[in-house]
């Protein structure tokens, strides 16, 4: 290696992932050749996960889309020039706007790449006159809203503070696969004698590190939380002073939990009564306790209320605003540039009136099909793969095919790209600088441009710039909204956002992650809660007003499906961030195809052998899939990990229904029931 030709540049991973690792990128001859740890980030000091390392392949992959392409007759694609691509799209935009109104165009963007420059997309569509967009979110709004209603804001202790906890509760979270660096402070705490408890329907790699695993039935978490609260209250393992000073609705909450006797909760959650009593004692008598809920369990119809029930445990034991005592749901402290923070930014009507027509992300397929006056004629997709990631793939495919013209901006031939009439090559994280935050670590980071775009790739900002020019918009209009396609203009755009934060200069960000002045290591330590009452609201009037749910935390049993006897869980895998990375050879060698994990007894009852290929089906769809025995699962619970492409076989969203969560406009696609048939 000729080290003198190499550069090492600080950057950060812009994926929709807790960790948001700082990285050092090794570059030689305009090529990314290595990803190395960046120890300035206290949350990710040892470097990224396997996906972060896989960027070396991803950035240089032969499978990458490098040129604009149009669909030709037989469903294959042909390379076209940028001139042709821009002219075609501009013509279509004009045509649909003139004949059906600009709201006949759907702009769909998801969480594929984060950054401030994504605002340019919105600006473009606003200038066009406003288009149909989406509201809600696939990921976490129910829990965010539950947290906001209760504590007033979504922030938590610094990730490294976990090492001060004496009890750590991973409730439905599997950081080994979704937030691997969280295992560092967990291990440090354990080394100092802390206990780790995992509550999960699955035996996960994270539960291997635990002292106890409470393997409850999926979707019954709220009942367990209320049952634990009852034991804690009856035994007076409370922080009474904290409750008296800072909590609203404690008395009503006490009444609410009365019905959740250990006997009843044992029956609902299917764990022994003694286990519930032990767990309650641990939670009630070990302080500080950090409760780390996952996002999976709030993607049920009862997700928001479930989250409120769990959070109540941190509240009544006084584990809020403490060193080592915290509710680790989401830490939005680094989102300093947002005018409206999540979850409110997901609510319809939260933005510009230009985007008055919004459809629910949760019901994308169904709502698109129903849309009239005007119908959706054109669909633009960027930073997303709705054909694999939104619920009910078959309906979405139908809705996409109903439109006349589809543009997909992508790096690889995803299931969604395969539906496009026109594919535009998308930039990767190394080809344009941008500023990103994290919902776990507290840093604001600069994801730096380290190489020139490959092939004929143009960043989205440049695509919009060219389109705006082609559409004949005035220079002043363009200049005010869309940066010119130069590195200087991009830096100016970013600098404009940084103006209000002198501590966050581009110069400093180029060196590594930075903290905004507003950063608090232990939020809520001052006991200031920005709720209507100024207290932690176990009783929340707003919950009832906004979402028509009970003003107290509540367990709302889920409906099962009589026709399909197996509950499908679709957790995230360490090999993918949603539908990204699974196509790379370095990843694919470990997981070449989608497999359905299930307990051998569940399989044997159906005469199914290990590794047999069977049909999995329900009302929404069907697919062939290879089964894999897993003794760490509950009987009649089957697992298909999230984010597989059609080419991998079965993907979970073939079987999910498009529904919203009880609050926050989240997506309730985890209450899914399927059946298996031998082939």
């Amino acid at each position: 290696m000729k080290l003198e030709n190499q550069k090492i540049i600080s950057s950060a991973c812009p994926r929709n992932c807790y960790s948001t690792c700082s990285l050092k990128v090794r570059v030689e001859d305009n090529t990314v050749i290595g990803i190395e740890p960046h120890s300035s980030n206290r949350a990710t000091p040892e470097g990224p996960c396997i996906k972060g390392l896989a960027y070396v392949e991803r950035a240089n992959s032969k499978d990458r889309i490098l040129y604009p392409q149009k669909r030709i007759e037989n469903g294959t694609y042909q390379r076209i020039s940028w001139e042709e691509a821009i002219a075609t799209i501009a013509d279509k935009l004009k045509y649909y706007k003139q004949n059906f109104g600009s709201h006949s165009i759907l702009f769909f963007a998801a969480s594929g790449m984060s950054g401030l420059l994504n605002g340019v997309s919105t600006a473009f569509w606003r200038l066009l006159g406003g288009v149909t967009t989406t509201y809600g979110n696939l990921c976490w709004p129910a829990g965010l809203e539950a947290t906001r209603l209760t504590l007033g804001a979504c922030k938590h202790n610094a990730p490294w503070d976990l090492e001060h906890a004496k009890l750590i509760l991973l409730w439905g979270k599997n950081p080994v696969e979704t937030n691997i660096q969280e295992m560092i402070p967990i291990e440090k705490a354990q080394e100092k004698g802390a206990k780790l408890i995992v509550i999960d329907p699955r035996r996960t790699p994270s539960s291997e590190r635990a002292n106890h695993l409470f393997q409850i039935k999926a979707g019954t978490d709220a009942a367990l939380a209320l049952g634990i609260a009852r034991v804690i209250i009856h035994n007076n393992w409370l922080d009474q002073e904290f409750i008296d000073k800072h909590v609203l609705g404690y008395e009503q909450f006490c009444e609410r939990v009365e019905a959740y006797t250990p006997e009843r909760v044992a029956e609902i959650c299917r764990i022994p009564m003694d286990a519930i009593l032990n767990l309650a004692k641990l939670i009630g008598t070990t302080k500080p306790m950090s409760l780390i809920p996952g996002y999976g369990m709030q993607r049920y119809e009862n997700g928001g209320q479930t989250t409120r029930c769990l959070l109540a445990l941190s509240v009544i034991t006084g584990n809020i605003g403490l060193k080592g005592g915290c509710w680790h749901y989401a830490n939005l402290q680094s989102y300093v540039f947002d005018t409206i923070k999540e979850p409110e930014s997901y609510f319809p009507g939260s933005e510009d009136p230009c985007f008055r027509r919004k459809i629910s992300v949760a019901k994308l397929g169904e709502d698109l099909l129903k849309m009239a006056d005007p119908e959706i004629k054109m669909i633009w997709v960027e930073r997303g793969n709705p054909l694999s990631q939104n619920p009910d793939t078959n309906t979405i495919r139908k809705a996409f095919r109903k439109a006349d013209f589809r543009v997909v901006v992508e790096q690889f031939m995803t299931d969604t790209a395969l539906e496009a009439d026109l594919i535009l090559p998308a930039k990767n994280m190394f080809e344009q600088s941008d500023i990103i935050g994290s919902y776990w670590n507290p840093y604001v980071q600069l994801k730096q441009k380290v190489v020139e775009p490959a092939g004929e790739v143009k960043p989205e900002t440049e695509i919009y710039y060219l389109l705006a020019k082609k559409l004949g918009w005035s220079d002043s209009e363009i200049h005010a909204n869309i940066p010119e396609p130069t590195d200087e203009a991009i830096e100016e755009y970013l600098n404009n956002h940084l103006k209000a934060f002198p501590e966050l200069s581009l110069e400093a960000l180029r060196e590594g992650p930075q903290l905004a002045n507003s950063y608090e290591e232990i939020p809520f330590a001052d006991h200031v809660f920005p709720t209507p009452s100024g207290k932690i609201e176990l009783f929340s009037e707003r919950a009832e007003q906004l979402w028509q749910v009970n003003s107290l935390p509540d367990y709302v049993p889920l409906e099962s499906d009589q026709d399909y006897s197996l509950q499908l869980i679709s957790p995230n895998s360490k090999y993918r961030i949603h539908s990204q990375f699974g196509n790379l050879a370095i990843i694919k060698q470990f997981e070449p195809e989608a497999c359905l994990s299930l307990h051998p007894e569940t399989a044997e009852e159906r005469g199914i052998a290990n590794e047999e290929v069977v049909e999995i089906y329900n009302r929404q769809g069907k697919s062939k899939v290879k089964v894999q025995f897993d003794l760490g699962l509950r009987k009649n619970t089957v697992v298909l990990t999230n984010g597989h492409w059609g080419s991998n076989g079965a993907a979970p969203n073939l079987f999910t229904k498009g529904m919203e969560t009880d609050m926050g406009h989240g997506t309730a696609f985890h209450n899914t029931w399927v059946a298996l048939k031998k082939l």
């Binding site: 996960c49 390392l53 007894e601 025995f629």
Partner: protein
């Protein structure tokens, strides 16, 4: 003395595979030919046992069996770092090191037809950096440093310990994590027998499908040596043409087993340590001297050739010393040194020797089958029957039908020997970290 070592903490490793990816990227290895492998205990998740991992590449052992046994001297130790370095240009691709290493570190690459393995990132560590796998570990489970390793540091439950002083220190699982505490009212107990059925098969590194040429080669060696021995000791001249044909066949067969045929001369470079070198050398000398003896009619050369023949036979049996045998018997019926005696007895027609050796083979063979049966292994009754016929029928024939030619008799014997030797490869395996973990798990299940 302090030396460079890998430091691995079982409590921190979560099996994320970043180390494997880090290695692959640094060294440009092909997918599925990773130098580093994450071995997992209890992948199926038996409820009573923990899941844990050993991330392993080459342990750069003090008594490195790959280097010791490589016939071509393709391995050296870097004196500065202690790294065992494999030299691609010297490797003949015989894969003998993949048998010798109990850590499964050398990997045969079917595309390049030679072996490759972890080099401790010798360039990086020489510059004071850590190996790429260590740098890639996102949770600090895999580290690198300078340590003195005591014997007691080498004992980690489930980890291969064969006394070759690997340069790795493993921190075993904390007591609290050794027995999972799982609460689930719907869980039912799983019997050890059921469990056995759920355990994934660890693919054997030696299989008959891969090694069938060795069955024929080793039997050819036995046949040739026996023939020449009878020829020289009993003054029953060998047919040079047939002898040489058989010899050529043996050489062709063994060359199938070599990735780089043009480098086959390197086979004899490590006479000092490698039984494989000794085998190839003594067998070559045996062939050369035998042929010379035919044409010079020199008794001295013939006797000398037999001496080398005996050396080659001993070497054949010795070079299989690493194999893990399911019957755990020190002597077994398929050993080439016994087979050569059987051939010798039959070709020379010494009825006492025939009876004695046949009986010995029979006892050893039946003993092996009994052992296999006790361990619930398939004893392959049909083949076993045929094999026993292959020993007994020729003796019966001597008494009831002595008119049969020696050729017919030897053919029957050969069928039995082929079965026996094939079963030997079929039943043999090589110790690997994953097979050791599986064995450990089976023991733990029986304890519960």
């Amino acid at each position: 003395m302090e030396k460079n070592v890998f430091l691995f903490d079982t409590n921190k490793c979560v099996g994320c595979m970043a180390c494997v990816a880090g290695c692959t990227i640094e060294n440009g290895t092909e997918t599925l030919l990773n130098w580093r492998v994450v071995n997992t205990h209890n992948k199926i998740k038996h409820p009573g046992l923990p899941v844990f991992h050993f991330s392993l590449a080459c342990n750069h052992c003090e008594d490195a069996p790959c280097m010791e046994n490589c016939p071509a001297l393709a391995y050296t130790r870097d004196p500065k770092t202690g790294a065992i370095i494999h030299h691609a240009e010297a490797c003949i691709g015989c894969t003998y090191c993949t048998w010798a290493c109990p850590y499964d570190a050398p990997k045969f690459n079917p595309n390049t037809k030679i072996v490759e393995k972890c080099n401790f990132c010798v360039d990086r560590i020489s510059e004071g950096r850590k190996p790429a796998c260590v740098e890639a570990c996102p949770v600090g489970a895999l580290d690198f440093g300078q340590r003195e390793i005591r014997t007691e540091d080498r004992i980690t439950p489930g980890f291969v310990n064969v006394g070759i002083k690997p340069s790795i220190v493993l921190n075993p699982l904390r007591e609290a994590q050794r027995k999972p505490q799982i609460e689930n009212l719907d869980a039912s107990a799983i019997s050890p027998d059921q469990m056995q059925a759920y355990l994934p098969d660890v693919p054997s590194k030696i299989s008959l499908k891969k090694e069938w040429t060795l069955v024929l080669f080793t039997l050819s060696v036995a046949g040739l040596v026996a023939w020449q021995a009878v020829g020289s000791l009993y003054q029953m001249p060998v047919e040079p043409l047939w002898f040489m044909l058989l010899a050529v066949m043996a050489i062709v067969l063994t060359s199938f087993h070599v990735g780089k045929k043009l480098r086959m001369w390197r086979f004899i470079l490590n006479l000092k340590n490698s039984w494989l070198s000794r085998e190839i050398f003594s067998f070559s000398a045996f062939l050369g001297l035998s042929v010379l003896s035919f044409y010079t009619a020199s008794d001295m050369l013939a006797y000398l050739s037999v001496c080398f023949g005996i050396a080659s036979i001993i070497s054949v049996d010795m070079l299989y010393q690493f194999l893990k045998r399911k019957d755990h018997m020190l002597f077994h019926s398929a050993m080439v040194s016994i087979t050569v005696l059987l051939f010798f007895a039959w070709i020379s027609g010494n009825i006492i020797l025939i009876s004695f050796i046949s009986l010995m083979k029979l006892v050893l063979y039946i003993g092996r089958k009994v052992k296999l049966h006790q361990q619930k292994q398939n004893i392959l009754p049909l083949f076993s029957g045929l094999r026993i016929v292959g020993i007994c029928l020729p003796i019966v024939l001597i008494f009831i039908a002595p008119q049969f030619s020696i050729f017919t008799v030897l053919s029957i014997i050969l069928v039995g020997e082929i079965i026996d030797r094939s079963e030997f490869y079929y039943e043999s395996d090589i110790l690997t970290p994953q097979s050791e973990l599986t064995k450990f798990m089976e023991k733990e299940i029986r304890k519960q």
